[in-house]
Symmetry: C2
Subunit: 337 residues, 2 copies
DNA sequence: ATAATGATTGTAACCACTTACAATTAGAAA
DNA sequence: TTTCTAATTGTAAGTGGTTACAATCATTAT
């Protein structure tokens, strides 16, 4: 049977309270006593029981990470960064994947709360910033622990967010494309991508600023799977049948790659005949030829900020409820600028 | 304050023992009593405290997943599948990432044990099947909980493994390549890839079977980062300066993509001048043109098997300590067969 | 009607820790 | 030396569950 705090207290000739104090770094222990206890603990390879500890402390220094799909490259990266930051600060993480299912999300929220996590981080939640029935469970949960939103925002008490200014980034991307001589742009977007509406707005505004008419007809929605490149390429092909375009702005790299494949299939040269910009600056950008220009939404910076904010909140400090970073266009071979 | 079992027992007019029985699906409760208790629980949104529960049960139905880098596409997928399988069976998971660091691995193992996980799953551990000092900590941990190895093997009590027969798969890949008329093969491998030695052996054997001389000189080791495609392409380029080859077998898709990029850069046509086979059948295979032929090592099958085995073990059933699946060559555009 | 049996339920001990509060100790001041 | 104070330590009461065992209840056989 595993050793308990009683065994240690006995071996050390002190009370369990003293052992507990040593365990918790309480100052009210004589240095010599502390050393003796630590030595006994060391010698016996004692590790305190996490449950009993959690019961007493009401916390297990664990935060829940709720993410749609940890195998998505973008989300996987986010989860990885979050993990690393948390571990570096002495927190563990409990990962739950919802598979883009709202019901699952609600259930996992409850489950995480029942596990007494200190906070819940939501990754890849396609968030609308206003309170509505859809995120009632978030509001409920926020009554119990701080809720952290990565790359999303939702203004509500005890909810903290980090964001990339996607709208501005896409706006800049579209504008740069037009500046480099690309006349006919199209915007491709998908349901899985984060802040899709914001990006769309950025695109539309950029075109309107240049007096492009009928912007609406230059926006195309793909609702298939993002790892099915045949389908994505078909999607682009179908657009080409009806709409002439020489520039593509996409809401994620996968769609952009589809455009690259379309161009290669039809003998269009990139970026001369077709300029393409993706989003997320994922590893995919390097897989195609030429390499894909993409928008870096500062994921690592965001995760860092989010954890710092979380640590502050848990430490009862006053923290900003929203931190916005600006995106960065990483220029590669699929654009002329 | 959160409700306790006492509150529920009071509201339901029964003892806490009865509530506990209902909570744990114990049969010794009258149907009408059970219903009443369940109704009260439902009405009051009661969730039992996980710590107290864990203390009583000695388990929190949580398993630790220890993985080198959850942002690696292959590992991320593995983690995702494991998660899904575990959740479907009522288990939570605690994810730790070691960053390929042996010391970190040891520490996390201890940490997970102190959190009283029911088992630890190792993902992406580049494993040697023999006991040595390197995996002493695995052996230690196996004394406390079953250790599950995904895509790796290690024969030791209370350690269970699933594997792909990588050696056979690479052997078949190399042989098929030669059958399709490719004379000069090279093998590219990296330190991060799983069962690198086995794959290498498969390659060597295939060549030896065809009486290729000096097989050793056709094997090349890349030790840079796998997301740096410029470096990988350079790596391939350097090989080409010294060694003539018309076929590439790679230990992972990233290296294979490097070969594709090398060919494109030098105007070689694929698969006519250069045939290429990757490993893992990752999403990267679809990003390049032509799409990459790759070996599917049955990750999903493996994760499924691993969790089934784990559930059996936790249920005190006798389970196979090793499950081997055969790989599958997914034929695409970079090979002639 | 009574006893025996099995189904249901309750009592209370236990799990391994934290922590408020009380008790003790040591050192400084009087 | 005595008294006071602060530092250190111990006692014991939670913490919210599980579960062995005892008690009660209902049912059936005698």
């Amino acid at each position: 049977m595993a050793l308990t705090i009683y065994d240690i207290s006995q071996k050390a000739g002190v009370s369990i309270a003293t052992v507990s104090r040593v365990l918790n770094g309480n100052d009210n222990v004589k240095a010599s006593t502390r050393e003796k206890v630590l030595r006994i603990i060391e010698e016996n390879d004692y590790t305190p029981n996490a449950f009993a500890r959690g019961m007493g402390l009401g916390s297990m220094r664990t935060v829940g990470i709720l993410c749609a799909d940890s195998s998505d490259m973008f989300l996987a990266k986010a989860v990885y960064y979050l993990q690393q930051e948390l571990q570096a600060n002495g927190y563990e993480s409990l990962l739950c994947c919802t598979g883009y299912n709202q019901d699952a999300k609600k259930n996992y929220l409850e489950l995480l709360l029942s596990k007494k996590v200190d906070s819940i981080i939501l990754v890849g939640s396609n968030f609308i910033a206003e309170a509505d029935a859809e995120n009632q469970h978030i509001m409920d949960a926020s009554k119990q622990v701080p809720i952290m939103l990565l790359n999303a925002a939702f203004d509500y008490p005890n909810v903290y967010s980090t964001l990339c200014d996607d709208q501005a980034a896409v706006n800049e991307a579209a504008t740069s494309l037009m500046d480099s001589g690309v006349k006919e742009l199209v915007y491709l977007f998908d349901s899985y991508s984060y802040s899709g509406n914001k990006k769309l707005k950025g695109f539309k505004n950029a075109l309107k600023d240049r007096n492009v008419s009928d912007v609406e007809s230059r926006v195309f929605y793909y609702n298939g799977k993002l790892d099915d490149f045949v389908a994505i390429t078909d999607f682009v092909e179908n657009i080409a049948k009806k709409t002439k375009f020489s520039g593509v702005v996409a809401s994620c790299d996968a769609l952009a790659i589809g455009a690259v494949k379309y161009a290669q299939k039809h003998g269009l040269s990139i970026p001369e005949d077709l300029s393409i910009i993706g989003y997320n600056d994922s590893i995919m950008t390097a897989c195609c030829t030429p390499e894909l220009t993409s928008i870096d939404n500062k994921l690592e910076t965001q995760t860092h900020q989010l954890i710092q904010t979380l640590l502050g909140v848990l430490d009862k400090k006053e923290m900003p409820t929203r931190a916005v970073f600006s995106g960065n266009i990483v220029k590669r071979g699929t654009t002329r600028f």
